[in-house]
Amino acid sequence: MSSGGGSLPRYIVTRLLLIIPMVFILVTIVFLLLRVAPGDPVSATVGGRLSEAAQDERRAALGLDRSLIVQYFDYLGDVVTLRFGQTITDNRPIIDIVKDNGGATLMLAVGAFIVALVIGLPLGTIAGRFRDTAADVVIRIFGVITYAAPVFYWGLLFQLLFAGYLGWLPSTGIASPITIFEVESVTHILLIDAVIAGNGHAILDVLKHLIMPVATLGLLLSGIFIRLVRVNVLQSLKGDYIEAARARGISEVQVMRAHAFRNALVPVVTVIGLQVALLLSGAVLTEATFNWPGIGNELVQYINVRDYAAVQGIITLFAVVVVVVSIVIDIVNALIDPRVRY
């Protein structure tokens, strides 16, 4: 792989092939933990409520009466075909959870990412450029606090202020019942569906519900972005090319914009890609805070009823998403920056 610098297609192929062992390991870990360790998921889940015979029936239906090895390969097959198994409590295929609730999670995640970029990039650049000044200190404290305060605390504070005290925004949910009733589900992403329907009230209603969750999750990410951008601006300001640019008499604004900022962005893109894991964790908590009908909220519901199969399926799904996204980011990076390929 190291000989001759390596070509781009070859790099992409190796990265893509790496998805297989990574997913395989994660699936195995989750399977071992959740299927083997607790003994019998059916009695753990519905043991108190169903008769012995009914439990056996449920076990047979889920294939849990077979040997663990068979179950394991069966589950691997489920993952390869992207089905991820089905829940014990309500026999719902995991892929249906993705279809029904994925849109809400996606809407939340994309919104939060935009909020984080809008806050993080400028503040991080300013903090890096004016290192150790008052602006730097204030921005860094802001960064530390966004990182220090759990997302659900931000959520609670927002609810207290905007829903409780001021009464401007609805405290939980994705939309009013009337909106959910009126808007026909086309893409399963409510905002887009509302736009397609051309329903002004619905769009406004969704946006109102969207503000607090998106701001909450966005704040969490923005702290990370600030830190990353700041450190990388600091690093790139040390470069000889910055000194050279200044020596040529290029204005400071231009130096920052064209020389420092752009070079600082390359490592930032890499690390931001790795924040998908954080974004997912944050989304689970944000959804639980705002009763947002996304995949994370479903996960919490199934945790509460101790549905092992559902927890296993959703966690595996998240793991696959993280691995695939991080490898796609690697490839994008290789396309942008030739130094990455080696």
């Binding site: 753990a44 605390y153 908590l285 805070t289």
Partner: protein, 319 residues
């Protein structure tokens, strides 16, 4: 004496801001350590106490004389829960950071030094665990542990340990790999030192340098994750110990009804403790890490030209 000086010397060389960060972090941390250690004396009530001399505490009572931060919807005293919560948080964090260093660092050392198949497999597993969203990993483990052993502080600490092992493993392994071929290790090999001695004596001391910084930052992260588990109803249950995340979850439904004291204060405790730990970690990092360190510029006077060149400390340069 010598050790104390080595520890303090980088601290003395830091510029104002890094030192300020480190100090304020230590101060915040100290406050919580005091709360945790002296909880039985500081907290006016027990963490699960709901009545005193036969009389129930008010439900969702606003801050008052008897309950100066109010009471929760579960009749608990908010201030007492915060004080006892500090004890829980520090217990869990100390256990989990200690366990993960104990597991991760030696594994990384052995894996990095021996190399081969063991190394490859361990790296693959650890990378997979590291890539996994840490909260989800903690969810899986505490889901399991609460079912297997019941909940409690230990279960929560073990669930958190799993998240942090890969970090120590990675750092220690990578440093070991680069230190393995260093001259002093080669010299040790040349005089016939066995592998165990090389790892325990020569490599260990050079490799553990970065552990304190990661440890503090992990501790900060662990506080947040513990609270998150509690918030999702997975962590420590209210009868077992006071836990801030659980309190926040219980406070949430009251938020839009204007009951602010049940949520604002426990959350503030999390923020302050995490901030303290983060500041200590950042301060340590800027102090220890030479690439980030900005040394304080000390005035240096050249000895006067010609005679009496030894009288350095005194006068101006006379040109």
């Amino acid at each position: 004496m010598g050790i104390a000086r080595t520890l303090i010397s980088p601290f003395r060389q830091t510029s104002g801001l890094a030192r300020w960060i480190l100090l304020s972090g230590l101060l915040l941390l100290l406050a919580f350590v005091i709360l945790a250690v002296f909880a039985p004396w500081i907290a006016p009530y027990g963490f699960a106490q709901v009545r005193e001399s036969g009389e129930m505490f008010p439900r969702n009572g606003p801050p008052s004389g008897e309950h100066f931060l109010g009471t929760t919807e579960g009749f608990y005293d908010v201030w007492s829960r915060i004080v006892w919560g500090a004890r829980t948080a520090l217990q869990v964090v100390i256990i989990s950071v200690f366990l993960s260093v104990l597991l991760g660092a030696p594994l990384g050392l052995v894996s990095g030094y021996l190399g081969g198949w063991l190394d490859r497999i361990l790296v693959l597993i650890m990378d997979a665990l590291y890539a996994f969203p840490s909260l989800l990993l903690a969810i899986v483990f505490s889901f399991l542990l609460t079912d297997l052993f019941g909940g409690g502080v230990t279960a929560a600490a073990v669930a958190l340990t799993v998240i942090y092992v890969p970090q120590y493993f990675r750092v220690v392994r990578n440093t070991t790999v680069s230190a393995r071929e260093a001259t002093y290790v080669e010299a040790a090999r040349a005089i016939g030192a066995p592998k165990r001695t090389i790892m325990a004596k020569y490599l260990f001391n050079n490799v553990v340098q970065s552990v304190p910084v990661i440890g503090t930052l992990n501790a900060a992260d662990a506080i947040g994750t513990l609270a998150a588990l509690g918030f999702l109803g997975l962590g420590i249950q209210p009868g077992e110990a006071a836990e801030w995340g659980y309190d926040l979850q219980r406070a949430l439904p009251g938020a839009s009804a204007g009951i602010w004291w049940t949520g604002v204060f426990p959350g503030l405790a999390i923020v302050l403790l995490v901030t303290g730990l983060t500041l200590v970690g950042e301060g340590l990092n800027e102090t220890v890490n030479p690439t980030l360190r900005k040394r304080k510029l000390r005035p240096f006077t050249l000895p006067p030209r010609g005679a009496a060149a030894v009288q350095a400390g005194k006068g101006q340069v006379d040109l």
